[in-house]
Symmetry: D2
Subunit: 286 residues, 4 copies
């Protein structure tokens, strides 16, 4: 049986590794704070001593950590993944990182004799637990093929998108659309309320029609309550909007709606809402 490694046991990683175990896979885990390994070891996981050891021991090693710096730290150094990845073993970084970081990790792994796939995910805690993430895979197709049984356990969808970098680009497209939708949704709700329409009725009618979508269903009541409990921090959305507009610039494409929604997110960030939920864009519109 194929041996899977799993590095990074935060909210996302813990749920994802648990799903692999429950599906009967052989899983070796590692986390910077080893306490987080306990629950998974109790469920049958092996515990690695370092990213290097996990990468040496396993056929395919998955990592999901919180930012580019952490992703680089897992890959590099004497105890890093690259130090153990030789002989064509597979490394899959599922963290959301920028293009340059992903390229850098890819190069390091390949130079060390390994094979690489980037696979950032769309979805948060609940889909991670339910195994319904959307996994945006890009890089070495042979790695994708070997990892597919694991992807099918962790996600409901794991399209292969092409060479390294395409996963990150797809995520930018998704987040840009999300940001624009949230901006026009906030404007529409504000307009309705100012026009003496009932907020709940607006949400109900939207939810019954051609524009009904899970995001409006979740964010709508948050807007009405002005509850901005963070699920996706506004400053991260704004950063992605900016990166998407800049990508459009490079590709000679005009994106006026995205550019102006970005300005609204920037204004919300300027008004102090950077660490609140993306829903806080509503603050500067209402």
């Amino acid at each position: 049986m194929k041996k899977f490694g799993f590095i990074g046991l935060g909210i996302m990683g813990n749920a994802m590794a648990l799903n692999l175990l429950k599906a009967g896979f052989d899983v070796t885990v590692w986390n910077r704070n080893p306490d987080k390994c306990t629950e998974l070891v109790n469920q049958g996981a092996h515990q690695g001593k370092s990213p290097k050891e996990v990468a040496t021991h396993c056929d395919v090693t998955f990592t999901i950590v919180s930012d580019p710096a952490a992703a680089m730290a897992i890959c590099n150094g004497p105890e890093g993944v690259a130090a153990g990845i030789g002989d064509g073993r597979c490394y899959i970084d599922m963290s959301t990182v920028d293009d340059a970081t992903s390229q850098s990790i890819a190069t390091t792994i390949i130079e060390a004799g390994g094979r690489f796939l980037e696979a950032p995910v769309s979805g948060t805690k609940k889909p991670a637990e339910d195994g319904t993430l959307i996994i945006l895979a890009a890089g070495d197709k042979s790695v994708y093929d070997e990892a597919l049984p694991a992807f099918e356990v962790m996600g409901k969808m794991s399209p292969y998108l092409g060479e390294v970098g395409q996963g990150a680009k797809m995520k930018l497209v998704l987040n840009m659309v999300m940001g624009g939708m949230l901006s026009i949704f906030s404007e529409g709700l504000s307009l309705g309320l100012k026009a003496d329409l009932d907020g709940q009725q607006i949400l109900d009618i939207l939810d019954a029609g051609a524009m009904a979508n899970p995001m409006f269903k979740v964010k709508g009541p948050m807007l009405l309550d002005e509850n901005y409990t963070t699920s996706f921090p506004l400053k991260h959305m704004q950063k992605d909007m900016r990166l998407a507009v800049d990508l459009g610039d490079k590709l000679n494409l005009t994106l006026p709606t995205a550019a102006i929604a970005n300005e609204s997110f920037k204004q919300a960030r300027k008004a102090g809402a950077g660490d609140e939920d993306i829903a806080a864009i509503y603050k500067i519109i209402k």
Copy 2:
């Protein structure tokens, strides 16, 4: 049993009246071109001689015609609804008209001794046939209460929104959100394609996530095929975007995303796409 009148047997009206008949209501129909009455009469409808006669004969008369001028023509004149509406009988105009037209009809009907409700609908041919329209009712609440059994047959949802004018405002809010969503969707799809992502994969991934909605599902393949067969003419959407932005102006509300999406629709209209489907906004972005 309550007697219902139904005036205007176009694609929408014919389907809606048929649903009333199938539900066992007593229905009297009228259409400018009387040939269109035949099918409904064969299904058990009575045929009126004029809008006036329908309004005299029925407890509640519904009308759905294509524009403000037609709606005014049905209401006014010696053979119009107002001439027959006395004794507190009910008139419900389901046409999509501007605020001034709706107010004018309301005043005429009330001065003639009738009671008035505006009830524009959201939804096109299929929901009309399936009885799953969204009916946006506003005006005299007692008319709403009397019409509710009929609304429940014609629509899946018929919220009462307040005084005359609120139905039209709710429609502006809905269309403004739709226009903004379509604009950011077009930009997102264009960005992805220029970045060498696969169009169908973009649509599939959007459809699997938090932004999944029936409109993207219908319009997405149209954008990929550059098929702009008209379901909702772009020039009408642009007009509604402008009216929504102007309403925001009156209410002291900034709507930057809507304002700029409006400019994109205007540019598409300027490029000759006014009579094509709203999806043709994609032309000037891709």
Copy 3:
């Protein structure tokens, strides 16, 4: 010698009528509050008893009042200009009014047997005193020709722009450009200050280059001091921006920069700066 009438002796009208007197013209004045006539009568003006009497007595009657309602009041009624304007005498309304008001006054004057010219001015108190206004004349060309000697005393420029309504449109174009320039100027100054450049240096450098203009010279120090003493109320500018964008809509023209500058003015108005100077747009950008 031609007899000129002058109605409306506010800050602008008083200075303009005084220039006519100083140039040696025969001038008859009228003002709602007659006290304001005293100074001009001391300088040699005749005093009329009513707008009607002025219009009857003079070959050409000028009016400049503060808004459409006042302009209509001067024209209409038993003591209004129209009541005295017969026999092809000339009426020139120099107030800034909307298109509909101007058309209505034009119709009234012509039906009363007079001839009409609209001539809104660009410029405030100082140019009025210095005789350096820009006079935007439109309507009956024969009136323009008769009034030209007076225009040359009151203004430095008085182009004839075509039929009634073209003067108002030219003013919209000017104000739209002014609003856009002020918006980008505010953004540029804010960007420089945030980037630790010196505000006065930014103004000095702008003033030395290809973009140097009197407006930046006046408004620049106001922005640096955050002094928004009203010279042109922001809410009026915002109204003109909206009218300009709506005119673009009617003419099938996209105006994205104007549309978004309008949103910034709206946001400033929403933030309570409607009665402050147009410079207060800076508040919501800095």
Copy 4:
């Protein structure tokens, strides 16, 4: 007498060096193609053998070349300026380069024992010939003080703006304001023409009022003639607009008017006008 070096004798550099000579300074010139030195040598200049030799021989060496790569080539390598700059001699790069290039050259020069000032200029051929450039100096203040007599000959204004990088930032601010002004100017002219106003009258009236500026005076007739003969390539303006918007992003500042004017420039670039004059933004608006 202080010895000045001048490297780069294109249209700008030739005119600037000539002005130094005419003012009686001791000037040593160098150009990659030595033929361009002839005229200046005939006017009394010395001819250097390499950038290194010029930098060794002169107290202050000026360079103005066309892009970052050329600026780096002049500075680096065995025959570059840095190889000859020791003993605290001064180097002033007047090329328009990005921040990173300027920082890199500064570091190289300082490590080589020299002193550095960046001094990009605002103005083109005519101001270079007339000695009326605007010189945006930033970096080592002692270099600025030594160079001031030369700056006063080459420019009409040479403010000292602070540390290295501030010159480039001031240029971004200026270009952002210029881009925004050109965008609203194009929109205003288009609106006027569509409203049947006369183009030349619009220009004349703008030129008589508070918005009168040299840029409108130059670009206005170009727009009316749709003559886009390149003076400042549109693609460079668009790049600067993007950099300015990105700088705003870094500094937590919303710049909606600049962001949307950038989209208009992008659209013009996409439509093939990248190498035409910035005035070609008018193409996609009219």
